[in-house]
Amino acid sequence: MNITVAGEKKEVKDGLTVAELIVNENVEMPDYVTVSVNDEFVEAGTFADTALKEGDSVEFLYFMGGGSR
């Protein structure tokens, strides 16, 4: 099936999960990554259960934060 990852079209196996895509894409420090599929955020802890569908658009966002102390 065809999906879009960070704006780039890719062909992946049918039923690929978000967790598998994270491995395929060599996403660094996945614990600090938020994933959206079609602009909806995927709940942390459900990546392995979230199967992608034809035409899905996936984005990986790194947590960005800090503090002054």
Binding site: A6, G7, T34, L61, G65, S68
Partner: protein, 136 residues
């Protein structure tokens, strides 16, 4: 070297002053030219912590900004945040949460009458000040 337009510097300062004592934050994007970073656009995002000593970029706004960068051919260069009452240097928490060593981390201090902005490269628990040029 990292270059920032004076108008963008003023945009950051104005927003940070408006938000104080809450920390203000956002993203920077632009071009890589040789070893230099040229900031073409500054994004102002919501600090979802709404805290005086912490910030977290709003993920929804972050997603919108990333798409805007892509649509405009801009490269993500890093982020910025304010320290309303402390110096312009990375705190231990800033360093601990700086996951991307290719990013520039800009910190604006409002502790004195004149705002102070510095940009840092952070890798592990080490931070190094980058040469920041603010130009018209």
């Amino acid at each position: 070297m990292i270059k920032l337009k004076k108008s963008d510097f003023e945009k950051i300062v104005a927003h940070a002053r408006k938000e104080a004592p809450i920390e203000a934050c956002g993203l920077i994007a632009g071009e890589l030219s040789g070893g230099d970073k040229i900031i073409k656009k500054v994004y102002i995002l919501t600090n979802v912590d709404h805290a005086e000593e912490h910030f977290t970029l709003d993920p929804k706004e972050q997603l919108t900004a990333v798409k805007d960068m892509r649509a405009n051919g801009l490269t993500p260069l890093g982020n910025w945040h304010s320290h309303p009452v402390s110096p312009s240097r990375p705190s231990d928490e800033d360093k601990r949460l700086a996951y991307d060593s290719s990013a520039s981390y800009m910190i604006l201090s409002l502790m004195d009458a004149e705002p102070v902005l510095n940009s840092f490269h952070i890798e592990g628990d080490k931070s190094e000040k980058e040469q920041l040029v603010i130009e018209d």
